[in-house]
C-alpha cells in the first residue's frame, strides 16, 4: 500500500534554531498516528510544514503520490489536508454556525460534497455536540467547546488527512472521553495525525506513535513498543526505567 503522506529530509530553521531537522516520515491511509515529544520538540512546526502554513527550508512533502511542497496552503486544503490549530483560532465574532459554514461551502464549491450548506453545518455541529449552540458567537463558547468547534471545522472540510494539534488541551475529563469516541469515528473516513501530550489518550487511540525530540524523529512504533523504549522514557518522560 502506498503511504498517504511522506516527507523526505524535511527541515525548517528559525534563525539558527533547527526546529525541524531532516525528518523522513511516512503515514499509511486509515491510520491514527500520534506524534508526541517534549515542549519545543518541533511537532507543531512539522505539521505546519505539512499543512503549508509555513514554508520548509529544505526537503519534500508528498501527499497521495503528488509533490505538494510548493503548493500554497489553501490548495493543500482542497486536496484534503485539514489542520486544526493548537492555539484556538475560531472566528470569535462569528456564530458557531458561520464558523462551520465556511469549510462546508468550500467543499461544496470544490465538488467534494453535495447538498445544502445548512445540512452540512448541522451534521458537523451534531457530531461534535455543538448543535444546540449553533447561533452563539464562537468567542462566547467555553474553552472546551471552542476546541470542539475547531474539530468541527476540520471535519467539515471532509479531510483525507486530519491534523489535530493538541485537541484535548484544556478539556475536562468527561469531555476527553467523548473526544476519544469522536476521533475513532473520524478515523473511519480519514487518516488522523494527532499531536497529543495526554498519554492515556495517545495509548487508547494511536495505531502507531512517532516521538519527536529536538526537531528529529527519535523513535517510531506501536504504543507498546514506545512505552517500553528506554530512550523515549529518557527524553520524554525524563526518567529511566
Amino acid at each position: 500500500m502506498m503511504p498517504l503522506l511522506t516527507t523526505k529530509g524535511l527541515s525548517r530553521s528559525f534563525g539558527g534554531l533547527r526546529a525541524v531537522d531532516g525528518v523522513d516520515f511516512a503515514l499509511m491511509p486509515g491510520e491514527i498516528r500520534a506524534v508526541i515529544g517534549p515542549n519545543g520538540a518541533g511537532k507543531t512546526t512539522f505539521v505546519s510544514l505539512v499543512s503549508g502554513r509555513i514554508q520548509p527550508s529544505s526537503g519534500m512533502i508528498v501527499f497521495d503520490g503528488a509533490d505538494i511542497t510548493n503548493l500554497p496552503a489553501y490548495a493543500r486544503v482542497r486536496l484534503g489536508v485539514a489542520y486544526t490549530f493548537q492555539i484556538t483560532s475560531v472566528f470569535a465574532n462569528l456564530s458557531a454556525y458561520d464558523n462551520v459554514a465556511l469549510p462546508v461551502q468550500r467543499t461544496l464549491t470544490d465538488g467534494r460534497s453535495k447538498g445544502a450548506v445548512r445540512t452540512g453545518v448541522m451534521a458537523a455541529l451534531e457530531r461534535t455536540g455543538l448543535a444546540a449552540r449553533a447561533h452563539m458567537p464562537a468567542g462566547q463558547l467555553s474553552y472546551g467547546h471552542q476546541r470542539l468547534l475547531e474539530v468541527a471545522m476540520g471535519l467539515a472540510l471532509k479531510p483525507r488527512l486530519l491534523i489535530l494539534d493538541e485537541p484535548t488541551q484544556g478539556l475536562a475529563d468527561s469531555e476527553i472521553d467523548n473526544f476519544i469516541q469522536l476521533v475513532r469515528e473520524i478515523a473511519k473516513s480519514a487518516t488522523v495525525l494527532l499531536i497529543e501530550h495526554n498519554m492515556p489518550v495517545v495509548m487508547q487511540l494511536a495505531d502507531r506513535i512517532t516521538v519527536f525530540n529536538a526537531g528529529r524523529i527519535l523513535a517510531e512504533g506501536t504504543p507498546e513498543a514506545i512505552r517500553a523504549n528506554a530512550e523515549v522514557q529518557q527524553a520524554y518522560l525524563g526518567t529511566t526505567p
Partner: protein, 320 residues
C-alpha cells in the same frame, strides 16, 4: 448572517427605497436636489463600505475610483460625443480596470502600508488629471452641456437635467447598488469576505485563496464607486479634479464610519447625516466645520460602531 429568514432584511430595504421614492413628491425643491446628490454619493459610500466594512481593508485612495467613473463618463461625452448609456458604461469600465490594476499592486500590502499605497496611487491619479489639463480641464474642470445629458429611449427621451428625472435616476442607481450589496453580503462570498476581515490566516487554512477573494472585492468596490462618479458626471454635469483630491478619499470613510461600517444601510445614513449637519450648521454660523467636528467626536464616543452599527448591536441583531 446566520441564514436568518431573508424576508425581514429585504422588506426593510425595499421599504427604504419606497420611502425615498415617496419623498420625491413631497420634498421642497432645495431638499429634493440635495437628496438626489446624497443618493449618488451614498453609492460611493456603499462601494467604499464593501471593502472597508466587509473585508476590513482601509483604503485612502478611493477618490481615484470615483474619479475614474467621473472622467470615464464625462470625457467620453465631452470629447467624443458618446450617448448617456455608452458614457456610463465607459465610466464603469474605467473604474473596474483601474481597480483591477490597483488591487493587483496594493494587495501585496496590508494595514498601514495598504493605506499609504492606495493614497499614493490616488495622488498619482490626481496629478495625471492636472497634467492633462487640455483634456480634463485641469482644476477648472469641465461642464457637460445640457444637450449631451439626454437619455434617448426608443422614440422618447429623458432629460437628465430635469429635477424629477435626475432624482429618479439617482434613486434607480442607489436601489440597484443597495440590493446588489445586500445580496453579496448575504451570499457565500460575503461570508468569506467577513472571514478574511476577522482572521485571514485562518481563512486560508479553510481552503480559501484569500488574495483572489480580496482582489474581486477591490474590483467590485471600485466599480460601484465608479458608477457613482459616472452618474455624478451625467446627472450634475460637472467633472472636476477636486473629486480626485485626498478629501474625496476621506469623505467616504467618514460617511461609512458615521453610518456604521459593515451595515448595508449605514452608508446612506452616514452620507445623509453628514450633509444635513453641514447644511444646517452652515446656515447659522461660519464656524460650522467646528460643529461638524464636535458632532463627529461625540458620535465616535457614544456610537463607536456608527449609527446603524450601534443600533444593530443594541437592538436589531438581524440587520445585515
Amino acid at each position: 448572517m446566520t441564514e436568518a429568514s431573508p424576508a425581514k432584511p429585504y422588506a426593510l430595504h425595499l421599504g427604504v427605497i419606497a420611502l425615498l421614492f415617496a419623498l420625491s413628491f413631497v420634498l421642497p425643491d432645495y431638499h429634493h436636489g440635495l437628496l438626489a446628490r446624497i443618493m449618488v454619493l451614498a453609492v460611493f459610500a456603499m462601494g467604499y463600505n464593501m471593502l472597508f466594512g466587509y473585508v476590513g481593508l482601509l483604503s485612502l485612495g478611493h477618490a481615484m475610483f470615483f474619479s475614474a467613473g467621473l472622467y470615464g463618463a464625462g470625457l467620453t461625452v465631452y470629447h467624443l460625443g458618446w450617448n448617456v448609456p455608452a458614457a456610463f458604461a465607459a465610466g464603469l469600465a474605467c473604474g473596474a480596470l483601474l481597480a483591477l490594476v490597483i488591487g493587483l499592486l496594493a494587495l501585496r500590502t496590508t494595514g498601514v502600508a495598504f493605506m499609504i499605497v492606495t493614497m499614493m496611487f490616488a495622488q498619482v491619479f490626481y496629478l495625471v488629471i492636472l497634467y492633462f489639463a487640455s483634456w480634463t480641464g485641469g482644476d477648472q474642470g469641465l461642464v457637460v452641456q445640457q444637450a449631451a445629458r439626454v437619455l434617448v429611449l426608443g422614440s422618447g427621451s429623458l432629460d437628465l437635467t430635469n429635477p424629477t428625472v435626475r432624482y429618479m435616476s439617482a434613486l434607480a442607481l442607489f436601489s440597484i447598488v443597495l440590493l446588489v450589496t445586500l445580496a453579496i453580503v448575504r451570499s457565500r462570498y460575503g461570508r468569506v469576505l467577513v472571514a478574511i476581515r476577522e482572521n485571514e490566516e485562518r481563512t486560508k487554512m479553510l481552503g480559501y485563496d484569500t488574495f483572489s477573494n480580496k482582489l474581486i472585492a477591490v474590483v467590485v468596490s471600485g466599480t460601484i464607486c465608479a458608477a457613482s462618479g459616472a452618474a455624478y458626471a451625467l446627472l450634475f454635469g460637472y467633472v472636476g479634479s477636486s473629486f480626485a483630491s485626498v478629501q474625496y478619499s476621506i469623505l467616504p470613510l467618514l460617511w461609512v464610519l458615521l453610518g456604521g461600517a459593515a451595515t448595508t444601510l449605514g452608508p446612506l445614513i452616514g452620507t445623509l447625516f453628514m450633509y444635513y449637519v453641514i447644511d444646517i450648521t452652515s446656515g447659522f454660523t461660519s464656524a460650522y466645520l467646528l460643529i461638524v467636528g464636535i458632532a463627529l467626536i461625540l458620535l465616535v464616543l457614544f456610537f463607536p460602531k456608527g449609527i446603524l452599527g450601534s443600533i444593530r448591536q443594541r437592538w436589531l441583531g438581524w440587520l445585515p
